[in-house]
Subunit: 137 residues, 2 copies
């Protein structure tokens, strides 16, 4: 890997991501960072998000909606995706790391880990919809 040089753009992207708890997409990052630097390119945002994820400073989340989300919190934790509004939020829950052991019990190969996300209706949508609990995903 080439030596990593400092870049204002990368710093802005990382800083912006740290202010957010909603796991924005590349496009959302782009739109927001543009308010500080109107010249920044979408390609630059993508490149730096990928770079930051590769060196482990941020996390790339694939929650099945066809768009990558990004999280500045790299500590192990789980995510929830609302089937109604698509929002992604953190879950406060104990580790379920043991499921990796369970999965490996009868498996011919090596299981390194798991990716889990939960879906349903978020608090806001629940309140808006009354009692409907019909998940779409």
């Amino acid at each position: 890997m080439a030596t990593l040089k400092h870049s204002r753009q990368r710093e802005m992207i990382k800083n912006f991501l740290m202010t957010r708890k909603d796991h924005p997409t590349a496009d959302v990052v782009y739109m927001n960072v543009r308010q500080q630097n109107p010249n920044i390119s979408l390609g630059t945002v993508y490149r730096n998000l990928t770079l930051l994820a590769d060196i482990g400073e941020i996390r790339r989340l694939r929650v099945g909606d066809g768009v990558d989300h990004f999280d500045a919190d790299t500590s192990p934790h789980y995510h929830f995706v609302c089937s109604e509004c698509g929002c992604v939020s953190d879950l406060e829950m104990d580790s379920i790391e043991e499921i990796t052991e369970i999965a490996g019990a009868n498996f011919d190969g090596y299981i390194a880990g798991h990716i889990t996300y939960f879906y349903g209706i978020c608090g806001k949508c629940t309140k808006l919809n009354g009692t409907e609990h019909t998940a779409k995903m």
Copy 2:
């Protein structure tokens, strides 16, 4: 929803998918079904896979590799994705449905379920690589 009419193409797609345990992508379905019907269109394959998934006859798998996989086995079970060769296989393991309860404990909203997949090195790749166990995903 419009009334569902029978279609040879849809039947072929479903039948093909039932012969496979490797959770092929739309493109793989297309290439195989074309051997029976060289005139079939890729759009038809996509449309019918989506339709079959919507009515619950097949399952769409999103395992984070950017391509949708499809599974004719709609019973609840888990999947493994090889970080080396990208193959997707079934896991024989007990249900871990209880993690949905765990996740819901401190959550403001309704959790309908979870999506989990496991990653690591499959049996074939393990044998090819010797003792290397370095996951890439």
